[in-house]
């Protein structure tokens, strides 16, 4: 029972990070129908930037409380990522808006490789240990343990989601975003500037990715230039799982995926008599995805999209 509770806690933490990343994918997809392959790399840049800031601050300002350093690093990472994603969209996606559909996908993949390579040159390819800045004494909950960092991850995720939902559902910008996602041409006729909305979407996605990146690095205690790939891929899976283009779907998909992964990793060994071990955990995401899509091709919460004919 304690094991199950522990796996649920881990799953929720993992899932909330997936959810934040998946939101970035799903928002971009909802508006311009593009799989932003470089999104995972934005997360990596966020984590590594915050790492640099933390190293710098720990050296120059000894005595500053850990949480303050982390907060400042997080904010700077958000700004850097927002600027980066804004630039990516402007350089690599905007000129291709009316091109064949595969063209922006290829530039997105190119961007992803480019960012990884640049990060490797700037930060060197070694693994960096990410310092624990929050109190490391674990809290016990009914036999399972949860660290302060993990509590913060859950809280920050909830806060970010609430802010995002408010932004999308109750502000002028949010309304413009929904309108553009629905029908860019009609939205433009109504006075919405599609370019501004798209830029705003990329900036919001980048901020969420930066937050997730800092969380990911502080939860696992390491950062490296390839760290964005796997969470990016799984978060995209989560977005598809929940129904791509649907914000609630991304959150539900992300959290479910996190739970499935962590519970699956905990139980697959005993269940299969040791035949399959927890090193198969990385394929759960895809197995589940294939199953869900076979039974429900538009995702859990996805709407049935009419064929564009």
């Amino acid at each position: 029972m304690e094991v199950l509770l522990q796996q649920i806690i881990n799953g929720l933490v993992l899932g909330s990070m997936y959810a934040l990343i998946a939101l970035g994918y799903t928002m971009v997809y909802g508006i311009i129908n593009l799989i932003n392959f470089a999104h995972g790399e934005v997360l990596m840049v966020g984590a590594l930037t915050s790492w640099s800031i933390i190293m710098l601050m720990q050296e120059s300002m000894t005595g500053t409380p850990g949480w303050l350093i982390l907060l400042i690093a997080l904010l700077i990472a958000c700004v850097v990522c927002a600027a980066l994603n804004f630039a990516i969209e402007k350089i690599a996606y905007r000129p291709l808006r009316n091109s064949p559909k595969l063209a922006p996908l290829i530039t997105a993949i190119g961007m992803s490789i480019l960012l990884q390579t640049l990060a490797m040159m700037i930060w060197k390819p070694n693994y960096k240990s990410y310092p624990t800045l929050l109190p490391s004494t674990p809290i016990e909950v009914g036999g399972a343990v949860i660290t302060v960092t993990q509590v913060c991850i859950l809280a920050v995720t909830a806060l970010s989601l609430a802010l995002l939902m408010y932004l999308v559902n109750h502000t002028r910008l949010g309304r413009a975003m929904r309108a553009t996602a629905e029908n860019p041409r009609v939205a433009a006729l109504m006075g919405v500037k599609p370019d501004t909305v798209i830029s705003a979407t990329f900036i919001i996605g980048a901020v969420l990715a930066a937050i997730a990146g800092v969380m990911y690095a502080s939860n696992y205690g390491t950062a490296q230039h390839t760290m964005g790939f796997l969470p990016g891929l799984k978060a995209f899976t989560a977005a598809v799982f929940g129904g791509i283009g649907n914000l609630q779907g991304a959150v539900v998909g992300g959290i479910l995926l996190g739970l499935i992964e962590s519970i699956g990793a905990g139980y697959i060994g005993p269940l299969t008599g040791g035949f399959l071990g927890s090193h198969y955990v990385d394929i759960f995401a895809f197995m589940v995805l294939i199953l869900v899509l076979t039974l429900r091709p538009s995702g859990l919460l996805g709407e049935r999209v009419a064929d564009r004919a």
Partner: protein, 365 residues
């Protein structure tokens, strides 16, 4: 007049392709190896072009079929299975070394089965959903290859399988140099001719497919699946056929890769490889054979060539920019720059008439 001219160009090109390895040989085997690998990539790109270019099904896990072919060859033509299973060692005391005539069809068949297996549950999916499922399929295959060394040692895990036999056709062992009179043909050059032969055969197959009823049906599905269905095309069977055909090409090139390298490990079949093959097809010109070949040659060979001349550059930048990094950097920049300048690829298919749907010829999503 015009016909003679074309014939002359054709003959010159054929001759150039035939003497290319002999001309490169004196500069070192590394250069011929580069050309060999480029030809393998052409083979892969041609296969993927059937799935993505003709039928419009975006497959991001194509490397899985390459892996299936490679491992099939590795298992059936190396001492590994005999080492791992006493029963097989008892039946084949000198290890399992099936001839290439048995292994290649088996590899092709197995890959095709996997292709259909992947295709079947994804029939209803479109565009990006399909992309992510195929991507997941590729990862699943790779994770299994990585972990199937226990409880039974089938794939030898991350260490991979080594000591794979080379190709032997009509008594000619491709791993040794062949001497014909005064000319010595190196092992790498022999493989060059083998791969060139395969590429030529594949181009002919693809070209015939493109012109056939099946090819036209695929293109109809690519342009508009609903309309294609309304015209009486059996979209289910044809999509499965596209997956199977594409996978067969992948399987054969995988087997060739295993024989050529003498070693396979899961590392060679990463997602990045799949992405590169998609990039080759799209950069060159989706659905157009000369474009696909150009894209594959460029992306496969150019960075390798650069790797060989990157030494001075590395010295200049104090080691920060080594050859592997430079290679990645150039691939990334090339992908972005080429797409920005020529969104339909370097050598796109000529458009039929003026249908006015220029921008919609991409993959349906």
């Amino acid at each position: 007049m015009m016909k003679e001219y074309r014939l002359a160009t054709f003959l010159i090109a054929a001759l150039a392709l035939l003497v290319l390895p002999l001309a490169l040989q004196p500069f070192g085997n590394a250069w011929v190896r580069i050309v060999d690998m480029a030809l393998l990539y052409v083979l892969l790109a041609l296969g993927l072009n059937i799935v993505v270019g003709y039928a419009g099904l975006l497959d991001l896990g194509y490397v899985a079929f390459f892996a299936v072919g490679g491992y099939m060859f590795a298992l059936l033509a190396s001492p590994h299975l005999a080492d791992a299973f006493p029963a097989i060692a008892a039946a084949f005391p000198s290890g399992l070394h099936l001839p290439i005539w048995a292994v290649i069809p088996l590899a092709a068949l197995l890959a095709a089965v996997f292709g259909v297996l992947l295709g079947a549950p994804t029939l209803k999916l479109r565009g990006d959903y399909l992309a992510i499922v195929t991507l997941g399929f590729g990862e699943i295959i790779r994770v299994f290859l990585n972990n199937l060394d226990r409880p039974i040692n089938l794939t030898n895990g991350p260490k991979g399988i080594s000591q794979i036999d080379g190709v032997t056709i009509f008594g000619i062992n491709f791993n040794r140099s062949l001497e014909i009179g005064p000319v010595t043909i190196n092992s790498v050059s022999l493989y060059y001719y083998l791969f060139l032969f395969l590429v030529v055969v594949s181009v002919i197959i693809c070209h015939r497919l493109e012109q056939s009823r099946i090819g036209r049906a695929w293109m109809a599905i690519r342009e508009d699946e609903t309309a294609a269905k309304a015209m009486g095309i059996n979209t289910r069977n044809l999509k499965l056929l596209a997956f199977g055909m594409g996978a067969t090409f992948g399987g054969v090139s995988g087997a060739m890769f295993a024989a050529f390298q003498g070693f396979v490990s899961p590392e060679s079949f990463s997602l990045m490889e799949s992405v590169m093959i998609v990039a080759m097809v799209v950069l060159g010109g989706l659905g157009y054979l000369p474009g696909v070949i150009l894209g594959a040659l460029l992306l496969a060979a150019l960075p390798e060539v650069l790797r060989h001349i990157a030494g001075p550059l590395q010295a200049m930048t104090g080691g920060r920019l080594d050859a592997a990094i430079l290679r990645q950097l150039l691939i990334a920049l090339a992908m972005i720059a080429i797409m920005l300048m020529r969104p339909r690829g370097l050598w796109p298919a000529p458009e039929h008439g003026r249908s006015g749907v220029k921008s919609k010829t991409g993959v349906e999503a």
